[in-house]
């Protein structure tokens, strides 16, 4: 085999490689791309193939219309509100718990760690049934607190923060303690600022998870004016008189923030996932 045929073979193999990649990428992206095309188009049969793939008349009319059909602004606000407070409290609760696990000495540290690890093995998907009973008793049904509270303390968040705190040099803590700093002071003034990269990763993971969260909010919120987008979008698709194109516009508005965050912070996802598995 001479150099020319080897080169040709390598080229053919690369071409095949890309062909497969493009084909799979199209399969993955197709529903989203089609929905986008339906949302920005205004004319013609929305399901016609292949003419519906490229919208003939591009306009934002459907995006305006969708705010008229349902109170999408309200859903948007609810999503932002729920996501914001979920992120703030998740970071606080998880790092508070991670600090003693990483840096303080106390009896029962291993047990606590094992207990938190055990939550990963419990069949938690079923918890929504009893959690609904609990939130009913706590009078938290149809409140934001009812949506947020059960999602805050997570093993993965605690592990991410624990690993971050373990990397911080001991000298810094010793010096602070010599100066008479309290543990809370050390936590807020030394640990948290030095763990900013990992906090960033946790913020991004929590933002996307919380924004997309569907099942629990749909169980605990029955009033339409409290629902986040991920739940409200189904109200829209069930509303009489909302056309496919208008629902498509709503769907795009629902997924866009999470996808944008994902595209700008891709490596956090890849790394966060690895961190979660290790």
């Amino acid at each position: 085999m001479n150099a020319a045929t080897a080169n040709l073979r390598r080229r053919a193999s690369t071409t095949l490689h890309y062909t497969v990649l493009v084909a799979v990428a199209l399969l993955c992206a197709f529903p989203l791309l089609w929905t986008l095309s339906a949302a920005i188009g205004t004319e013609g049969n929305v399901f016609a193939f292949p003419s519906s793939l490229l919208p003939q008349r591009v306009s934002l009319a459907n995006f305006i219309e969708v705010f008229r059909v349902v109170d999408l602004g309200r859903y948007f606000f609810n999503s932002i509100w729920i996501t914001f407070w979920t992120v703030v409290w998740t970071v606080l609760v998880c790092s508070l718990a991670a600090y003693p696990l990483a840096r303080l000495h106390f009896r029962g540290r291993r047990l606590v760690f094992a207990v938190i690890l055990a939550t990963l093995m419990l069949p938690t998907e079923i918890n929504f049934l009893v959690n609904f009973i609990t939130t009913t008793h706590l009078r938290l049904v149809n409140t934001y607190a009812g949506v947020i509270l059960p999602t805050l303390a997570g093993a993965i968040g605690i592990f991410i923060m624990k690993n971050a705190f373990e990397e911080i040099p001991q000298d810094l803590l010793d010096a602070a303690r010599v100066d008479g700093a309290s543990e809370l002071h050390i936590f807020f003034r030394i640990m948290l600022p030095l763990a900013l990269p990992q906090i960033g990763a946790l913020v991004i993971l929590t933002t996307v998870t919380s924004w997309n969260n569907f099942l629990w909010p749909s169980v605990v919120l029955t009033k339409s004016n409290l629902m986040p987008l991920a739940v409200g979008i189904l109200e829209l698709s069930g509303t009489f008189g909302s056309s496919t194109r208008v629902i498509a516009a709503g769907a795009i508005l629902t997924v866009a923030p999470a996808l944008i965050v994902f595209f700008f912070a891709q490596r956090f996802f890849m790394r966060g996932m690895e961190g979660a598995i290790k």
Partner: protein, 321 residues
């Protein structure tokens, strides 16, 4: 032990070096609590919020749920013990049998999703131009909210929808197929959605495993004259076996617990053909407010999950000679 306590910042009385010993003395001098006891109290103060939330929303449901499954309970009145009555009711309900059968049938997607994810991970485990864009594209379904996934695939599967339009345009079929309205097809249509949603997630896990294979192992195989195919089966697969085991268990469990796709796209229909174990529990609990029956059903699903996870570990564990 000494190294450990030094790392944890514990003043080690007796042989503590410099600053730690100094704090120790100072704290004694100022008459405060003994440092260890004080640190322990502070540790629990820091842990309290997380532990309280975990207790109420993670451990309590498992415990209380397992008890409520043996009671009659309507939320407003205290539960009364009824023994196995709820489980007997389940056995009398043909829909429950369909649900369990469907949940087990759902497991056929596990090998498909795992093989697909491994192949994708191998395809993107290189530095070809644009490869990051492809990785992102494959991961996109994972970061798309499941409600929107359900709506979009509803359009794809619609009788006048995209899939039928494409197939008719290609002249593969003459009459549109009722992907979600035909009770023989609906469950398989849902499986395809679950597959579409999960592929990217497992791909990332496998990609991480592939990237941790030492380069020299691969190179040694090349030097030994192994071709691509042999390298894949004899080197790559054995090296990522722990990840395969983990992912298989994870995807088996999530296949057994499929709920959201059913809830959003079919609500168990047509004619109960897409009920799954957890959708049955959801339907009984959240819609019909029959929580004990719902919890009994979810206990049955959990038992199946534990059994299947155990089988996975038994048969996929890497064997050492």
């Amino acid at each position: 032990m000494m190294a450990d306590s030094a790392r944890l910042g514990v003043p080690d009385p007796g042989n503590a070096p410099g600053p730690a010993g100094a704090i120790d003395r100072r704290m004694r001098a100022t008459g405060g609590a003994r440092p260890r006891a004080k640190q322990a109290r502070q540790a629990w103060f820091f842990l309290a919020p997380a532990l309280l939330l975990l207790l109420v929303f993670t451990f309590w449901p498992v415990l209380w749920g397992s008890i409520l499954a043996f009671t009659e309970y309507k939320i407003i009145t205290p539960p009364t013990w009824v023994g196995l009555q709820n489980f007997e009711d389940l056995l009398d309900d043909p829909v429950f049998f369909i649900s369990i059968k469907n949940s087990l049938l759902y497991l056929v997607i596990v090998p498909v999703i795992q093989l697909g994810a491994i192949v994708l991970a191998v395809l993107v485990n290189n530095s070809l131009p644009g490869i990051k864009l492809f990785r992102a594209a494959f991961y996109m379904p994972v970061v798309t909210s499941v409600s929107v996934v359900g709506i979009m695939w509803g359009w794809m599967y619609n009788e006048q929808g995209l899939i039928n339009a494409v197939l008719q345009w290609l002249h593969v079929i003459n009459e549109p197929i009722g992907w979600l309205s035909d009770d023989r097809l609906a469950l398989f249509s849902l499986m395809l959605v679950t597959l579409w949603r999960g592929l990217g997630w497992y791909m990332v896990l496998y990609l991480a495993a592939l990237q941790s294979i030492p380069k020299d192992v691969e190179e040694a195989a090349v030097l030994d004259g192994a071709n691509r195919w042999q390298r894949f089966w004899r080197v790559t697969i054995p090296m990522i076996m722990p990840t395969i085991l983990l992912c298989t268990v994870l995807s088996t469990l999530s296949a057994m617990k499929v709920l959201e796709e059913v809830l959003i796209m079919t609500k168990g229909g047509p004619v109960s053909s897409t009920y799954t174990g957890l959708y049955y529990a959801y339907d009984q609990g959240i819609r019909a407010f029959n929580f004990p029956r719902a919890l009994a059903a979810s206990m049955v699903v959990s038992v199946f999950c534990i059994g299947i996870a155990w089988l996975n570990f038994r048969f996929l564990r890497p064997r050492h000679r």
